[in-house]
């Protein structure tokens, strides 16, 4: 289960968690008439079969998991119907939102499961029963236009990180492959090693989307369950408007980085927000 995460606890070592592709989760919720932040089901690479015990309106947003229902649109489900989501055909994640939300307990203000520490819940298992909530806030919306596509070799826009001056432009000259060990804590990349200067950095706060360079030179992009502090240098940080791309990366995808300035990053975010408001 995920919503948009829990904020205000990083000073205790609790990272926000939340949907790996928050754009898709928000869109799915808006489509069924929920508040953007309603709890929804996050599926990664492989889905599940969901049996509905009552009539429902749902939306699937993100990658196509072969459910046989249209994506990015509200869908009516009859009591007794089983929605079967198989393996992804593109991208990494798909969100299932149910009109009214899903009534799971909240921990520290959020329904999000922080899978790696167990805070806020565990991964769903066969047999779990999820109560449908009654918290719809508006009518369902028409199907979305302009939904994102998922590339196997995306460009990730970044702004300069706190230790950008320690590095040359190595990060921008090669493609990097997403490694199998990637997860909600970090995307591990494989490619030409990026040399970082010798010298010790004091542990400092680490933001979501930071590109860290450990001693082996293989970049790690900090993701939604990231450690709140760290001691590896950070030449760059993925822009907010591209966070959803991180949530759609699969092993063996190849990423390239492109440096943009803060004004461009903010402009791209504002355009994205406008798109969501048009749903």
């Amino acid at each position: 289960m995920q919503d948009l995460g829990r904020f205000g606890w990083a000073h205790l070592g609790v990272s926000a968690s939340g949907a790996a592709d928050a754009l898709a989760l928000r869109a799915a919720n808006l489509l069924v008439g929920n508040a953007e932040n309603a709890a929804a089901i996050e599926m990664t690479l492989v889905g599940a079969a969901f049996e509905f015990e009552a009539d429902a309106v749902v939306a699937l947003a993100g990658s196509d998991f072969g459910a046989g229902a249209p994506l990015w649109a509200p869908v009516e489900i009859r009591a007794g119907q089983v929605l079967r989501c198989g393996a992804t055909r593109s991208g990494a994640r798909c969100y299932l939102a149910v009109r009214g939300g899903i009534a799971v307990p909240r921990t520290l203000g959020s329904a999000s499961a922080h899978i790696l520490t167990g805070l806020g819940g565990r991964a769903l298992r066969a047999g779990d029963a999820l109560p449908m909530g009654g918290q719809a806030v508006r009518r369902p919306r028409p199907p979305v236009r302009g939904a994102p596509g998922y590339s196997r070799d995306p460009v990730l826009r970044v702004t300069a990180g706190p230790q950008a001056e320690w590095f040359s432009d190595d990060l921008f000259r090669h493609a990097y492959a997403v490694a199998e060990e990637s997860n909600r804590m970090g995307l591990r990349l494989r490619g030409p090693a990026i040399p970082s200067p010798a010298g010790h950095m004091l542990t400092e706060g680490a933001p979501l989307g930071a590109v860290q360079i450990p001693p082996d030179g293989q970049p790690i992009i900090l993701f939604v369950e990231h450690q709140t502090t760290g001691g590896y240098p950070k030449p760059a940080n993925v822009i907010s408007a591209d966070f959803w791309r991180l949530g759609q990366l699969r092993p063996r995808d190849e990423v390239r980085f492109e440096l943009v300035d803060l004004e461009r990053a903010l402009d791209l975010l504002q355009r994205q927000e406008q798109w969501l408001r048009s749903i």
Binding site: W9, L119, T228, T229
Partner: protein, 215 residues
Amino acid sequence: MTIRPASDRSLLVSFGQEISLEAHRRVVSLSRGLGGIRGILNIHPAYSSVLVDFDPRLRGRAELEALLRELAAATGGINAIERTVEIPVRYGGEYGPDLEEVARHAGLSAERVVELHSSAEYLVYFLGFSPGFPYLGGLPAELATPRLAAPRQLVPGGSVAIGGSQTGVYPVDSPGGWRIIGRTPLRLFDAQASPPALLAMGDRVRFTPVREGAI
């Protein structure tokens, strides 16, 4: 003091690159002053810096930077709130599989290691890395022991450990490369508790040897 963007939604306030009580007080003071400010999503205090995450839809970066500059300049006073937290520890045996190795490395007896570790007073510089994990200062220099060459798959939650020149307590089961010298029954983090973390930035910590009883 410098303030610069760490990303398009965060600002890093830095009080230099040294671990010192002076930097620590400034971090604590600034962190306390940031509560309840609209648009601030999270703060990440560390040894000599504070990372501030904000929502760019609610707060402009330049505006927030100006606010932080003002707050950071007005800091550095004495910490009014100081607590000492005692952490009971069963040292050695099944709870401290690396105690003998730490002793051997230091050229001391295991008893002397326990004496030194438990007679020091530690400062919680900040919490980070994982829920409730304290970065403690004050480990007696003789006890510094290199981390394991390869981390253990599982360090039980509550384990008291030494890694290099640092010491700390693993809040939950996790992999780890530090040397485990004991275990505490206290829970460093409980999401149902208020506050959820046992320790807070600025607390003093003492480890108290416990002779008997299972953890």
